[in-house]
Symmetry: C3
């Protein structure tokens, strides 16, 4: 039984056991964050999250389980649930709240993850109704972004909000004179404008999509993606690389680039355009790179936009950039879109 | 002649007299803020606004009259006008500007109400075209929110803007350490974590939808809603209660909760989901409660989002939460939507 | 061969020579900013931009050339390219970045213009897909606004961002007490509440759509528009006048009004509603004026909204106001829309 592609044979076998089918749905849900309807990819990503931090891995699992359960309770389409389409927002809600709320392993934070993951399922169903119905594009991870941001911004003023030190409201300023794009692991660390810096930027840029700031986690994820699709894995690395290069060219903060923050949106954007939504040609390949550039620019823009509330850009840059490029389908006779029914998220 | 439901017999009789038909349209417009196409409900709400403050009642009436007139001049659908669908934004524009602009009974403020109420009709017609045409959902009170916020934010820098003391721009901060969710009427008032506090939070939460911070106004409105629909009145009270409980659970400011600010969006959201858009079942009832929770979370989020400009969240939380839940129709086979033609707003 | 209207005969002759056809497409693209599918109008506007500043004229040309080329490379519809529909965002991206980035004639700024103009073509194609497909309205200049704002806000924190002194983040405040709507060329200049002040406000208000703060540039543009359409030229002047009057009535800063900042959005909005999208009647004429008022109010609102990042409102006020009014079509039986196929942008 092949582990490549969408593992249809395995999926049908898992259907015979409700618990196994549920676990399979959840793992596919984790894989669907990067469009991989494949439980092995999902498993690799879960391992990568535990490598990043056990609390991160636990929170991600809690999120994907709750959001998938919520879809069953509300009565969503079974095929969509089985393909993981009601899990990918939940795993990210869990990961994000585990990172931005404090302390780790806190029962209140877990309650907020359960609440957020449930709501992400409802919001995703609503957005999918609008996006797929009217425009034949999926809403990507918008539900995760909205639910997480709604919770975090409100939490600034909630006694039980549990916001941690990473959320630090400040005034937006013109800081370009004092920004250095020198690659380095921390503001006062040694310069790493070399292979070490580049490899960290690229593979942490893969891991950061799942909040795992770890070069090993990034490599495990790329391998997991390659199990499902070699083309997708290549575009993942290309995308993260383009994101890093865009950050360097614009003159963004080199600490953020080193730690992969300029990579994760571009990685997912390039993978979507180059490996999922358009039949691969030289033109769609160029567009995948352009989309990675646009996602990186949006990362810079949204990060600055959110400074007054101290909020993270999350994957909004990926969502907006990919939406813009995927909506080109039909507008150009030179681009052949993959049938919507064949796309998993 | 029954005063329950949409009072169709009365509406047809009123059609015989243009002035009476216009008054009936305006009163239905007031009722439509909470989906009640019923002039008696509208009259009860107008009385509640006058109980809140005579200037509030006058401003609300000015708004509903102007926005309904504007719809006639532009040539909107007569059936929609008669059902009050071009009045509900206007009454809220009038109420909001009467509260956030100063002084009371000012002729310039009245001019801004006339301007805002007229524009709300045009914007609502445009939004309805998009929302109903493409997604088969109404735009709720979005036009009121946009027009009011557009005016208030610009007015910060207008010599004739008349912004009052309730609009106070500030920096967003992490204040969670110093926030107390103890129910009390003012920051330095006695603790009211008792029946008095709870009743104030719930019924002021009904009145605040119309800017009436009064427990009596809230009760009058619930009675007015019950004239049209008992189920709607029950969900109104349930929604306001859920909003209060969500605020308490998150640890929001107890002064705001006591004064009904956590109730009014949740009240309208629960009423919409539980009593208007879905056929009542245990599932739609649970969703109504979930929608009230989401509306309350959005109230906290949007309030903090608007801090840098000192703006109020108005009913944006209700709009966004209710849109998300109403768009579930079609996505779940377990939810039976009410026919669009049978929904009044 | 007539130079009025869309110059179809000339366009067909230019088709015989690829270079000439490309130049014609670019000039039509410049004209399309104000809905004029006419190369002579475009030429007049280019001249007006050079009158404003040679660097502005060059940057605008660079933008329109790059964005039109990008459309050819991606494989957009040839008829749309020939009508200038992939040039109007580019010319504005070029003009805006030449004004808000520093220094003039800088090679890095030119690179950002090339990047931004290319991306504006992709984003416009995507937005057109959504807007025309689902709602039968064009996305106007939204792509220009989004791309320019995305670049400028990110650039606050980019070492190579080149943001100039016009981008100055600050706290939003209630300044109404200290704002004066006295017309004057600078804060400390002599009062110009006379014909000189009014003419400056109106015709600079025309030029400012293309970032040319020059009364002569404004007059050249009006003449250029009149070549294509007399009705459009009249509504251009009416719109700018209404924008000025709205600013004066609200009590906005008289320096901004004198320098045309309250005119350019209202000019384009009135022209669109009165001269392009609706068959001219007294009702559509009144709506054109109302749309100019709304665009001016939005200019005040968006300007204040962007204060924390020091960003300009660009033509977002025009886009939002015109969208609202154009979406009225179909909602009112009294308004006759021009066929979508007959509208050029």
């Amino acid at each position: 039984m092949s582990v490549n592609g969408t593992m249809q044979a395995w999926g049908e076998r898992a259907d015979g056991n409700p618990l196994l089918a549920f676990v399979d749905s959840c793992l596919r849900g984790v894989g669907q964050v990067c469009f991989m309807n494949n439980p092995v990819t999902g498993l690799a990503i879960v391992i990568a999250m535990f490598i990043g931090e056990p609390w991160l891995g636990f929170a991600g699992l809690l999120g994907v389980v709750v959001s998938t359960l919520a879809a069953i309770v509300i009565g969503m389409d079974r095929g969509a649930i089985r393909a993981g389409l009601f899990g990918f927002n939940g795993v990210l809600v869990g990961g994000a709240l585990s990172l931005f709320l404090q302390p780790d392993w806190d029962i209140v934070v877990m309650v907020w993850i359960v609440l957020g993951a449930s709501l992400s399922t409802i919001l995703h169903a609503a957005l999918a109704n609008v996006f797929i119905g009217a425009h034949a594009v999926p809403p990507f991870t918008l539900a995760f972004n909205f639910i997480t941001l709604i919770f975090l911004i409100g939490a600034l003023n909630f006694a039980n909000g549990r916001v941690g030190g990473l959320i630090a409201p400040a005034d937006a300023q013109v800081t370009r004179g004092s920004v250095s794009n020198t690659l380095r692991s921390a503001a006062d660390a040694a310069t790493a404008n070399n292979l070490e810096g580049v490899l960290n930027a690229i593979f942490r840029g893969i891991g950061q999509l799942f909040f795992a700031n770890s070069i090993v986690a990034g490599i495990v994820i790329v391998v997991g993606i390659a199990v499902c699709s070699r083309i997708a894995a290549i575009f993942a690395v290309v995308g993260s690389t383009v994101g890093m290069l865009t950050g360097l060219a614009l003159g963004a903060n080199g600490v953020a680039i080193y730690n992969g923050l300029w990579g994760f949106n571009s990685f997912d954007a390039a993978l979507a355009v180059g490996g999922v939504f358009f039949v691969l040609t030289w033109r769609s390949g160029v567009l995948a790179v352009a989309c990675a550039v646009f996602a990186a620019m949006l990362f810079g823009a949204i990060g600055t936009l959110f400074i007054p509330w101290g909020l993270p850009a999350l994957t909004l840059p990926f969502c907006f950039a990919t939406l813009a490029f995927v909506l080109l389908k039909g507008a150009s006779t030179e681009l052949e879109p993959v049938e919507v029914a064949d796309i998993t998220t």
